[in-house]
Each structure stands twice: as structure tokens, then as C-alpha cells.
Symmetry: C2
């Protein structure tokens, strides 16, 4: 007997939970520290439980036994099968437990559980689709440094590459190049040391420099155009027939989506709800299917 | 009083030493383990001393006191100033000690100490020039993953990016894509895990796949063309007037140099000598200048 439905959105910076009674009314929402699986399964579960506890507190309800709760969580790190398995194995006893990617719960939230596409570009980039026949597709999301074309880290990588080339005479010392030097180091030794130490996050910081210099720097404008093409490629591959509504999410996708070609722009819709609401929708749908499945 | 001139070439896989008497005759050559500065200064010195000792052994000479020897070493890691300083500070007492980049000793070797350009593309890529007025220029060599365009690791990165795109429908499952899948993993989970674990060396292993599939795969051919353009850019930036002889070194540069545009191809010369001979030439030149400098 499931009394409560719980949606969780967990990533590297924090965890959110949203709780609804099976009978309908919302109970409350709560937050806690990070629950990205890569940071440790025990830590993930601890913060998920804290966020849920806080949601019940908000609704002035005592925490029920886990076996009266069904949980869907969209978690960063779920695509890594060993982490996902370890997370599921540490289930403290939920009546139902679904672990999904955070991009899938964003998709479900964006379109209220209906078919659609989500195009995410922030530090990384990925597109997911839920098709009318229930099938799913995921494109991109391959990670730094090789993939995630069109993302913030990708834009930053291209910007720094341009700063390097300008420093040694293979490109003009354009406004973007000068911004890179200002940020990373304006002589070879310093720029090289910055590059050796920088990871995905540090490169993503340079994405802003590309947008900021676009008006004065044709190279920056070209990089943004390539980023637009990269996210168009993601959207096309995830929904080749181009019939689904398209929601953009993440700092880069939100800025680039309006620049896509008319065919794409015409399908753009604002996300209906966020990832944690998407997780709640997921578990609600799963519970609603339960009787059918039991037949 | 310097009795012996010593050239050393040291990198991540080994160290070579070449010893010549100040009076002219060669003494011998020797080898030892790695002396890339990044692997530790004490280890670098230990292997340099071992290689020198082995060169004197080969010449059936007793090892002289270090203060009767002048040493020039071309060492991987010298561009990192703290490592270079620590290496020089640990000088066991040579009459003269010069620490240079391994690319510079390759340049000196390639052109016998005369003005010229060396274009190196193996795992990474860099170009160096010694101009007629004695000035030097270095271009590229920025490292993985952001720089080193046209190198083996760069080609591998592009190849894997293509394999990713083909796997999720953004590119054709071409012969190159299939080679990438065969090498790295033929499903998303496996390919993603490979990418997450791979570094410069692992990506460089894929360069061969690009050459191997060139004839059947337009994408592979395009990547090689872009690599050619990248090394042309290096050569142009290091010698903008294009007057110096050009030597190519490294597995990738050797294959790509003959594909450069006629203006570059016409300046190609085979490297005269290797890096350790270049280091010896350097110290010989330095000692020859000594009396002038003392005046």
C-alpha cells in the first residue's frame, strides 16, 4: 500500500524532493546537499533521505515508513551502470524505487510527462526524447573533453584554443583571445599552466567570454554559430522526423535555442515544470500503470 | 677546464647521452631509463648520470669529475619553469649545464645547429624555429586536450567524437566510426566508460584508425586534411616568411608533411641528426662561444 509519491532531483550541488499523497494533495518540498552518484552512494542516499524528511516536515507530517512510499529519482551519474546498481542495491526499503537520469526527469517535467524533446546545454550537452509510442532516445552527453558539443565547456575549450593560437601567431589577437588571456594568463607559461590544471568546469567559465565578445569578434560569432549547429544536430538525431515539441534548458541552450533555424524555433516550448516535478510525474505515472501491469 | 662535451636527450620512455672529447673525438653513447622532469627531478638526474656513465664505459674511459664536463640536455618537461629550476638547482657540479626543451634539441639536430624549422607531430604537436639572427620561435605544444592540433591525440579525439556522433545518429556509421567502436566499445555504456578513462596516450592510439580508413571514409580523409592544415599553421606561425628549411619529425608529421601545399613541401628536408646529437651540437656551440663571451 503506497501512501506517498516522491520525486527527487539530485546532482552535484544539491538535492530536491517533492512529495505528494497518493490521494492527491501535495505534502511539501525539501532540499539537501548533493546526491550525484559519483560523489558516493551513501552520501547520495543520506541527502535524498534528508530532502524527503524536510519535505514531510514542511507538510507537518511525520515521516512514514519507506515501504509506504514510492520514489523516482533523477540523478546525475545514473548512466554509469555500476553506480546505478550500487544505488539501487542500497534501497532502504521503498515500495517502489526508480532511478533515472536527471536529463530524463527534466524531459518529463518539461512536457508534463507527454512526448517531447529536451535539449540541455549547460556545462555539458545532451538531448532526450520521449516519443508518442513510449520509446526514448538519448543523444550526446558523452562528456568532457571529447563530446558535449555546443556546451559551455565545449565553447570554453574552443575559446582557449583560439587564445592559444592568437598567442603564438596562428590567429588574430581578437577580443575573444584577449578575454581568454585576461582570464587564463597572458603569457605562454601562465596560459599553459592554466590549461594543464583546468577541467570541464574551468573551461565552461569561458563560455561567457564568447557571448560577451560576439559583437566585436567574428571568431566568437563563428563559435556560437557552430554551437547552435551542434545543438541542432542533437535535436535532429533525437527526433529525426522533427514532430515533437522542443524545450531548451541550461544556460547555454536557453541562449542558443532562439538562434536555431526556423523549423526548430517553431517547435520551441517553455519547459512546463522542473526536474523534481518531472520525477514526481514519473512515479505518479508508474503507480497509475501498476494495476494494469498486475493484471 | 672542460674536457668533455655531453649531449643528453631525455623523455618519458628513456634517456640517451652522447659524449665527445673537447679535443674532438667521440667518446661513446649510452642509454638509461626515463628522465622526463615530470616524473621526478631525482629520477631524471639519476638516469642522466647513468646514461653518461654508460657512454664513458662504451669509450672505455673512466668517468671524469663533473666539473670537467659541459652538459646540454633536451628534456621533456623543461617548459614548466618550476621543474626546470629544480632540475638546474640539483646540478651535481657540471662546468656548464644547459637545460633545453626536447623539441629545441631536435631542431638543432635536424639542421645541424643551423637555422631551420622543426615540425613535430606525434602524440602532441609543436613547431620550433631557429632564425638566421639567432632568435627562436615556438608555436603549438599547448598540450592535451585543448591544443596540439594535428597531433595523434588530436586526431584520435576527432575520431572518437565521430564514433560518438555515429553511435547516436548524428553521423554515418562509417568505416572510421566502426573502427572506433571496435577499439573503444560498440555500445554507449562501453564507449562512454572508455572516454571517461582515456587520456592523451589512449586517444593517440586512434590516429592509426584515421589513416587506415582514409581511402574508404570521407570523414577520415577530411580529418587528415584538417590535420595537414593544422601543421601548416604551425609551420607558418613559426616562420611567417617561409624561408627556412623544414624538417618533420614524429609519426604523424612524417606521414602528413608530404601532403602539405607545394610551397611547404618544397622546403622539406630530412632531419640531419637526432635530438641527442642536437644537444651535443648545442653544448659544442655554447663552448665555442665561451671565449668570445669572456672577452
Amino acid at each position: 500500500m503506497v501512501d506517498y509519491l516522491i520525486g527527487v532531483d539530485g546532482g552535484g550541488s544539491g538535492t530536491r524532493a517533492l512529495v505528494q499523497s497518493s490521494a492527491g494533495p501535495f505534502v511539501g518540498s525539501g532540499e539537501a546537499g548533493p546526491s550525484a552518484l559519483g560523489q558516493g552512494i551513501a552520501k547520495a542516499w543520506r541527502n535524498i533521505e534528508l530532502a524527503i524528511r524536510s519535505a514531510f516536515d514542511q507538510g507537518s507530517l511525520a515521516l512514514p515508513p519507506w515501504n509506504r512510499c514510492a520514489l523516482a529519482a533523477g540523478l546525475s551519474g545514473v548512466t554509469h551502470a555500476p553506480l546505478r546498481d550500487a544505488f539501487l542495491a542500497a534501497d532502504p526499503g521503498f515500495a517502489r524505487l526508480d532511478a533515472e537520469t536527471d536529463s530524463f526527469t527534466m524531459l518529463i517535467g518539461a512536457h508534463g510527462g507527454k512526448p517531447g524533446v529536451i535539449l540541455i546545454a549547460g556545462t555539458g550537452s545532451i538531448a532526450e526524447a520521449l516519443h508518442a509510442d513510449g520509446s526514448r532516445a538519448t543523444v550526446g552527453g558523452w562528456g568532457f573533453p571529447v563530446g558535449d558539443e555546443g556546451s559551455g565547456a565545449w565553447l570554453g575549450l574552443q575559446a582557449v584554443r583560439h587564445g592559444q593560437a592568437a598567442m603564438d601567431g596562428r590567429a588574430n589577437p581578437s577580443p575573444l583571445a584577449r578575454r581568454v588571456w585576461m582570464h587564463c594568463g597572458d603569457e605562454r607559461q601562465a596560459l599553459q599552466a592554466w590549461c594543464a590544471a583546468a577541467g570541464q568546469f574551468e573551461f565552461a567559465q569561458l563560455a561567457r567570454a564568447v557571448f560577451d565578445t560576439e559583437a566585436q569578434d567574428p571568431h566568437a560569432a563563428m563559435l556560437l554559430q557552430r554551437a547552435v549547429e551542434a545543438i541542432e544536430d542533437l535535436a535532429l538525431a533525437v527526433d529525426p522526423r522533427g514532430r515533437l515539441p522542443l524545450a531548451a534548458s541550461g544556460s547555454i541552450a536557453e541562449r542558443l535555442a532562439p538562434r536555431m533555424r526556423p523549423a526548430w524555433r517553431g517547435r520551441l516550448v517553455p519547459p512546463k515544470e522542473n526536474a523534481v516535478a518531472g520525477a514526481l510525474t514519473l512515479i505518479r505515472q508508474a503507480q497509475a500503470r501498476e494495476p494494469e501491469e498486475a493484471v
